[in-house]
């Protein structure tokens, strides 16, 4: 072969190789992007939870303020729950009820239970830490889901970190970096919950799941839907919004 041809082949080969390197994202990079869109540095959210138990349907509406991963305040606005407030500060959860004379503090494993009879646990709601901080991710492959091309990514809980689930498998939309489906497992290998995203919106330049459904595999006949009705990213929220005094008001 002439020298020129060898050069051409080398150039073409290296171009191909380089281009592959350039476009092959690591699992961590993918999840970082997911976190970017999903993780709320600070936000004001109006949302609702629709719990279906057999043939009963219960709707809970919430107004939430979120600041970083340590501060969160949620107030229920639907008639039956009106006035109930939950404040998260670090690892503590404070609760205010109109019918109670004192605010209640709870901690630890109580948080793992279903909130208000739903399949979202308090921890799920309050877990606004970055996924990449809590899990080690790796790409399992690629799959299609609901007509969209997705990365299939598995995450195992990092040691010493306090995540709700030991293992998770995410179908991440390649284009929008939003998990369209999640399977959540316990350390025993048991499938605990399946989350499916029904609607994704672009708000303030981010793609965000605004309608999700959770199927709790441990309880039969129940299903919980979570809808975001409005969300304001990077809102300016003063720290004293998360004070106990504000909780009591």
């Amino acid at each position: 072969m002439s020298r020129f041809k060898i050069l051409l082949v080398t150039l073409l080969t290296s171009l191909v190789l380089l281009s592959n390197l350039a476009f092959a994202m690591t699992a961590e990079e993918i999840m970082n992007q997911v976190d970017e869109y999903h993780h709320l540095k600070s936000a004001k959210v109006e949302s609702e939870m629709i719990i279906t138990k057999g043939n009963r349907k219960l709707v809970k509406k919430m107004s939430s303020l979120i600041k970083g991963s340590k501060l969160g305040m949620t107030e229920f606005t639907n008639p039956r729950d009106r006035g109930s407030k939950f404040l998260k500060r670090g690892d503590d959860l404070w609760m205010f009820f109109p019918d109670a004379e004192d605010i209640v503090k709870i901690s630890g494993h109580m948080l793992e239970q279903g909130m208000m009879g739903s399949d979202f646990s308090y921890k799920d709601m309050m877990e606004s830490a970055k996924l990449t901080d809590l899990y080690d991710f790796k790409i399992l492959g690629e799959k299609e889901y609901q007509g969209r091309s997705c990365y299939l990514i598995e995450g195992i809980k990092k040691e010493g970190k306090d995540a709700s689930y030991y293992r998770r498998v995410d179908w991440v939309d390649k284009e929008r970096y939003v998990p369209l489906k999640e399977e959540l497992y316990a350390q025993s290998g048991r499938l605990l919950k399946i989350m499916e995203t029904k609607k994704v919106d672009k708000i303030d330049g981010r793609w965000f799941a605004t309608h999700q459904v959770i199927d709790n595999k441990l309880k039969r006949g129940t299903e919980t839907e979570y809808r975001v009705n409005s969300i304001e990213f990077d809102a300016d929220i003063p720290d004293n919004s998360f004070s106990l005094r504000n909780l009591r008001r």
């Binding site: 009963r56 009820f97 109670a100 209640v104 630890g108 494993h109 009879g117």
Partner: protein, 420 residues
């Protein structure tokens, strides 16, 4: 006949020690029977009565779906009356049935109190205070304060539960619960009374609050989770049960609700009833044991008096009379022994009852609160028990005396006279 009795009596005195030992054996067996029967009777009666007061009523009415998942304490399948008419109306209809003395509604629900370091789980019972005080023995178990009052945000808790949450009578506490609409809420109550009963259920697991308050906070107006019925006689439910079932059928409520008599549908009660029968067998066996001493004595007597028997027969005494004489000896020993046994037994039973010596409290520590048993067992001294033991003693002794007596009666006089 009377000369036989005379003879028998005199014969017993011939060997005072031997007679005494036989009588003692019977006395001990009979005393034991009196005591054990008193103990078992008290134990079983106590379990029945606690079961009725706290779990089953004489008859219990619950939703059939609720029954399937009773452990979950679901609020989704309450008793809400006939065709949703409410429990007050249902109570009215039930009280018109002859034999129904009281209708006792209860709302049972899961709750929790958050302390500094943990979430203490418990069960709330919304009750009508006056009915509970009359139907159960709760009045005697209130060691401090008083029972809750209708319309007030008050609770009564067990001593152990109060210790767990670190509070006392007079304090206020916020109790967390979930309403029937899956709303997670908290309400503040004042602790107005303390219970110490020896029952884990009452002392550690549950708290009482007024029914109307429970209905309010749980959003269950005019409803209950359980409806207990008290009848005139819990031992004879057939008639009343049939009438209740008919009422429910007439109101087309028989497919929705279960009507459960206290002694059916509860596995433990079934086991206790079988236990009662087994114990009867044990009593008989106990007395037979004592009677063995009598048999032994009588065999010895017969052997010793073979010559005498021969002589009597030769003198014209009939074999039937010989038989009677020996049996009478046995019966006299039986009667004296049983009489003594009954007295001693009654004394011991009464003593253990008064001192409350039999105390299973430590043994019950790990047992589930669902087993309702008073750990201090006070055996009962019942006239019928005493009579039963006495008659048992006499009859068994008489029967066991027959064997050696028949041997004596069958003796060939010539052989007997010749024997040594």
């Amino acid at each position: 006949m009377s000369y036989l009795i005379d003879l028998a009596t005199k014969n017993l005195f011939r060997n005072k020690l031997r007679s005494f030992i036989s009588i003692l054996a019977i006395a001990l067996s009979v005393a034991l029977v009196v005591f054990v029967k008193g103990l078992v009777g008290a134990f079983i009666d106590n379990m029945y009565s606690l079961h009725i007061q706290y779990q089953a009523g004489d008859i219990k009415i619950i939703d059939q779906e609720y029954q399937k998942k009773e452990r979950l304490l679901s609020l989704n399948y309450p008793v809400d009356g006939f065709n949703g008419g409410g429990i007050k109306a249902m109570e009215g209809e039930l009280k018109r049935i002859k034999g129904i003395k009281r209708v006792i509604p209860r709302i049972k629900f899961g709750a929790a109190i958050s302390t500094e370091d943990e979430m203490i789980r418990m069960m709330g019972w919304g009750v009508e205070a006056s009915k509970e005080l009359e139907f159960t023995n709760i009045k005697d178990k209130l060691v401090e304060g008083r029972m809750v009052r209708r319309g007030q945000r008050e609770v009564v808790m067990g001593a152990d539960l109060l210790k767990k949450i670190g509070l006392k009578v007079g304090d206020k506490t916020t109790i967390l619960y979930q309403t029937s609409f899956a709303s997670f809420k908290g309400s503040t109550f004042k602790i107005v009374g303390k219970i110490k009963s020896g029952l884990k259920l009452l002392d550690e697991e549950l708290f009482y609050l007024p029914l109307d308050q429970a209905q309010k906070i749980l959003e269950m107006p005019d409803m209950a989770t359980d409806l207990l019925l008290e009848t005139d006689n819990y031992r004879d439910l057939e008639g009343v049960l049939a009438k209740v079932e008919q009422l429910f059928k007439d109101k087309s409520a028989d497919q929705r609700y279960s009507i459960i008599p206290w002694d059916k549908g509860y596995s433990m009660i079934g086991m206790l009833k079988v236990g009662e029968k087994i114990y009867n067998g044990i009593y008989i066996f106990l007395v037979i044991l004592g009677a063995f001493v009598v048999i032994n004595t009588m065999i010895m007597i017969v052997k010793e008096r073979t010559k005498e028997v021969g002589m009597m027969t030769a003198l014209g005494v009939k074999s039937k009379e010989i038989l009677s004489m020996f049996i009478i000896e046995g019966i006299i020993m039986g009667m004296v022994g049983s009489f003594l046994g009954v007295i001693v037994g009654a004394l011991i039973t009464k003593l253990t009852a008064i001192t409350g010596i039999i105390d299973y409290s430590k043994a019950m520590k790990g047992v589930s609160g669902n087993i309702l048993m008073n750990p201090i067992i006070r055996p009962e001294v019942d006239l019928s028990n005493l009579l039963y033991a006495f008659i048992l003693g006499v009859v068994v002794t008489a029967i066991t005396a027959i064997i050696p007596a028949r041997k004596a009666a069958k003796l060939d006089p010539t052989e007997a006279l010749r024997s040594n």
